[in-house]
């Protein structure tokens, strides 16, 4: 892993201007993804994880707007490129895989035709047939020649998602962004697809930004994890560190409340309350209304600070315990 990251996001802020007022879906988010690294972005609905992905790809649609920050890929700020330059980078530098393969595939064209379009868009149509067949074989499609001629509706959900992954990897991007890639699949098929993504990104040295609500997927796939809550990153750490020594009360509560297949019947420890209403956030720490450790100083907004090497946390109490942060500042 070299020093310059593939992706460096700084202070990214995306707002939606709705008739009921502005909602800041992504609020000053910063993180990096190293070469060949897998970073997990985890959070519940409304935490801003998907809008973060769309903002990186500059696919946020009206009434959403990227209002601040930089998104550097190999040192170039994507937010400053013109639309044509950005279009050329999607697919070649950064590939994408979304949750529902049926919305990513065109129902009226064969899979092979669509993959050929993706190659053509980047001027690689000469060896298209061979490239397509190799890409389909790579994702474990049994008969690539026949599969290239079939239409999305003739395939199962797992097969379609393999096609979408093959398309995402077709132009050999350095970074693949996958937003809930296996959420719509059955667990035995999820296991197949995750194994496939792990093998492909490993073999091609592709970095992966994996967005999911599923802590099990994170545990299986990621090198590092960033936990999002109410539009902000509240904790970030290497995967083993996060699961063994979570420091933010939200991460701790979330991990405890997940039923596990290796545990018998019984009541679960729960996080009280519901995910926040993004239109009416608490002042100060946004997790405060649900936090069992909340104190008066939590009325001030905490920063994301290093609590241990490579372990950042946005919580006054956790920062105090680690002996970082200055009381009363900010």
């Amino acid at each position: 892993m070299s020093d310059t990251p593939v992706l460096q996001v700084r202070q990214l802020t995306t707002r939606f201007h709705t008739p009921h007022g502005a909602v800041t879906a992504v609020d000053g988010v910063s993180f990096r993804v190293g070469r060949g690294e897998t970073l997990g972005l985890v959070g519940e609905s409304g935490s801003g994880k998907s809008v973060t992905a769309l903002s990186i790809l500059r696919l946020v649609s009206h009434p959403g707007r990227i209002e601040a920050g930089t998104v550097e890929m190999n040192g170039t700020d994507l937010l400053r490129l013109d639309e044509e330059a950005m279009r050329r980078r999607r697919g070649t530098e950064v590939g994408m895989v979304f949750q529902n393969p049926m919305t990513a595939l065109n129902p009226v064209y064969s899979v092979g035709w669509q993959m050929r379009e993706a190659l053509k868009a980047h001027g690689r149509e000469q060896d298209a047939t061979a490239l397509i067949q190799r890409a389909l074989a790579d994702v474990g499609m049994p008969d690539p020649v026949r599969q290239a001629a079939s239409f999305p509706h003739q395939m199962s959900g797992g097969m379609r998602q393999r096609v979408v992954i093959a398309m995402g990897m077709l132009n050999e991007p350095q970074l693949l962004i996958a937003d809930e890639p296996t959420t719509a699949l059955d667990v035995t098929i999820q296991a197949q697809v995750l194994d496939l993504m792990k093998r492909l990104t490993h073999d091609h040295g592709t970095a992966l930004l994996l967005i999911t609500h599923n802590m099990g997927v994170i545990a299986k796939m990621c090198d590092r994890v960033a936990v999002m809550y109410a539009g902000e990153i509240v904790e970030e750490a290497p995967v083993d560190e996060l699961f063994a020594h979570a420091r933010h009360p939200y991460t701790q509560g979330l991990l405890r409340s997940i039923p596990r297949a290796d545990q018998p019947r019984g009541k679960l420890p729960t996080l009280p309350g519901a995910p926040p209403d993004m239109g009416a956030l608490a002042v100060g720490c946004r997790f405060r209304p649900r936090c069992e450790f909340a104190q008066t100083r939590c009325a001030a907004h905490p920063d994301l600070l290093d609590a241990a090497p490579a372990h950042r946390v946005r919580c006054w109490v956790a920062q105090d315990a680690a002996g970082v942060g200055a009381p009363g500042v900010h």
Partner: protein, 342 residues
């Protein structure tokens, strides 16, 4: 009433439900065997969990149990009485169960207040004054009684699901069928609702048929677990024994594919990756239906359909190999080394 005093609350006996599928572009049509000879029983006040992937017939089974669908063959009994007995007796039995669906927004009338929706099962029984019952019920599921006057779109998804649970319980049914009732909720809310269901069962004595694709959630709430595959029961056991001693290769693979929020466990796990997809229930494989994906498949599996056999401790399994668990472990040992190298 022809109910028998010693009979279980719910007895599903060799129930079959087929659907006719007409021919269309790309498919020749035929018979879809959604549920194909399922038997199970559930005692009052208990939770029976049903786990399986898409196409296993679990949702069709839910609809059969509450009487929304009529079986093609077989009998469903409530306290010993057939729910499809002609006349008033059958009709009355079909009203004893309630259901909670996956999508709470879709199962509430968007133009009626939450309170009006919750009161509906009582009104269907001719009760006129329902306000006090609604307020009490909303409180029981952890909602403020003021919520009764709100419209469904004015409350959150978690609150809507609590209201659906209140509606299911208000007429004091003996059984509530949950069909993926926590699947659309955020993780922190799933744990809250699972706990709420356990508490409500203790205070009301309602039995649950809890249907889900999530093995961990089913295990957290059930007294007994049933695993379905392609319309059939492949394994059933008390929850404790099921967690410690899964016997069917499909159950073992399902457990293996259910991810644990623990990176050390995930890395150390022996891999059992099932080949391919679930075959179509229009044309299920001969013999054992799991054989096309089973790492242990042998010639006998093609020829002979394995019967559910007693494996002790009220544990039943439909597999030709009594030692499937050990065989799978041996089979997965080799590829696991290869993965550890990268």
């Amino acid at each position: 009433m022809s109910t028998e005093p010693g009979a279980p609350l719910l007895a599903v006996d060799q129930v079959v439900r087929h659907f006719k599928v007409s021919a269309s572009a790309g498919s020749p049509g035929g018979t879809l065997r959604a549920v194909d000879g399922v038997s199970l029983t559930l005692a009052a006040g208990q939770t029976l969990g049903i786990v399986g992937e898409s196409g296993c017939g679990k949702s069709t089974l839910a609809r059969l149990v509450v009487g929304l669908l009529e079986p093609t063959a077989g009998v469903i009994r409530v306290r010993g009485g057939d729910i499809w007995e002609p006349g008033a007796a059958g009709r009355e039995r079909r009203r004893q169960f309630q259901m909670v669906f996956q999508n709470p927004a879709g199962s509430m009338n968007p133009r009626r207040s939450v309170g009006a929706s919750v009161a509906e099962p009582l009104q269907a029984r001719g009760v006129r004054k329902t306000d006090d019952d609604v307020a009490r019920m909303l409180e029981l599921v952890g909602l403020s009684p003021d919520m009764a006057s709100r419209m469904p779109h004015q409350i959150s998804g978690g609150q809507q699901q609590r209201a659906s649970i209140a509606r299911a319980l208000i007429a004091r049914p003996a059984l509530v069928v949950h069909d993926e009732s926590i699947a659309s909720l955020d993780i922190s809310l799933q744990a809250q609702i699972l706990n709420l269901l356990v508490d409500l069962q203790q205070s009301t004595g309602t039995a649950y048929l809890f249907i889900s694709h999530d093995l961990a959630a089913v295990q957290a709430i059930s007294h007994r677990v049933v695993v379905m595959y392609l319309g059939e029961v492949v394994e059933t056991a008390p929850a404790q024994d099921f967690a410690q001693r899964p016997l069917h290769p499909y159950t073992i693979a399902l457990r293996n594919a259910t991810l644990t929020p623990d990176p050390a466990v995930e890395r150390g796990r022996a891999k059992i990756i099932l080949r391919g997809d679930v075959p179509s229930p229009m044309n299920p494989p001969s013999g054992c239906r799991f054989r096309t994906r089973c790492p242990l498949a042998a010639p006998i599996c093609t020829q002979e359909r394995p019967a559910l056999r007693d494996a002790g401790e009220a544990h039943h399994v439909a597999c030709h190999f009594a030692d499937a668990a050990r065989r799978l472990q041996d089979a997965s040992a080799a590829p696991a080394d290869e993965v550890a190298a990268c």
